[in-house]
């Protein structure tokens, strides 16, 4: 099997796990797609650096594009490349991130450290209060963080 085929297989397997096995259904959540968009941006930056410097090299037979000669960077775009990366790397990145995020939600839903929930951002002192806390938080500095339930 080629990297292309395994990449597609992994995406399908992880999406099926998210929907039917773990039943976390993250791919139906807006929050997942916004988070993935952020991850994708940074993947293009960091993996673009690594692939353009030839830290990673790929066999012609494993990917859609051809590995260029070692004296220059691969195409920035085209020949199966996106920001220097073989597009197959996007399949691997997506499946890795979705699997990790789905398992994180899965274990939380099973009751493993479901709380303290995330937020609010530090600049939003009177913002959203975790839904389980009818507010033990005082308004004083440093009081909010430890006032929340941990179980």
């Amino acid at each position: 099997m080629t990297y292309t085929q395994i990449g597609i297989l992994f995406v399908v397997a992880v999406v099926v796990s998210d929907l039917l096995v773990l039943r976390t259904r993250l791919v139906t959540r807006k929050g997942f797609w916004v988070a993935y968009a952020i991850v994708l941006f940074f993947q293009c930056v960091t993996n673009g650096v690594l692939t353009s410097l030839h830290v990673f090299t790929y066999a012609d037979s494993a990917i859609v594009g051809d590995q260029p000669a070692s004296d220059g960077p691969p195409p920035f775009f085209g020949q199966g490349r996106i920001f220097f990366q073989p597009f197959e790397d996007l399949l691997m990145g997506f499946s890795l991130c979705l699997l990790a995020m789905a398992l994180w939600i899965y274990w939380g839903r099973r009751g493993v450290q479901r709380t303290p929930m995330s937020g609010p951002p530090i600049w939003r002192w009177s913002g959203r209060v975790p839904s389980t806390a009818p507010s033990a938080d005082g308004p004083g500095p440093g009081g909010a963080r430890d006032g929340e339930p941990t179980a």
Binding site: T2, Y3, I6, F10, T24, R25, L26, R29, K30, G31, F32, V34, A35, Y36, I38, V39, F42, T46, V49, L50, L53, H54, V55, F56, T57, Y58, A59, A62, M92, G93, L96, C97, L99, A100, M101, L103, W104, I105, Y106, W107, G108, R109, V112, Q113, R114, P116, M117, S118, G119, P120, P121, I122, R128, S131, T132, R145
Partner: protein, 111 residues
């Protein structure tokens, strides 16, 4: 210095996402047991894929731009770190979005 290329990128990914724990109160590292459970499956699955792909010649990793420590004699240690740091960064991003937007993700109490 060239041998620190890959490790340097990993350090950037780690610190580029870890600040969310403080600034957005993602509480991901604080919930470390849940984090370890979430990481355990992907790290094993993707390390196996990686070792198999290197052994099959699908891709190669430049020995001049890595530390030179190879696990099982084949896998650069940076790859193992990658499969820990990247899932942590994704989970931090997920919780960061929830921290700011408050959108539900399916593990809230009132389900």
């Amino acid at each position: 210095m060239e041998r620190l290329t890959y490790l340097g990128v990993l350090v950037f990914i780690f610190f580029g996402s870890a600040w969310l724990e403080i600034a957005l109160r993602t509480r991901v590292f604080r919930r470390w047991k849940r984090l370890l459970l979430a990481l355990s499956v992907p790290v094993v699955v993707f390390v196996i894929w990686d070792i198999w792909a290197i052994a099959s010649g699908h891709w190669a990793i430049d020995p001049d731009r890595t530390l030179g420590i190879r696990l099982f004699g084949i896998l650069p240690v940076e790859e193992l770190i990658f499969f820990l740091v990247v899932p942590i960064a994704s989970i931090l991003s997920l919780e960061a979005v929830r921290s700011v937007k408050g959108w539900p993700l399916g593990d809230e109490a009132s389900r």
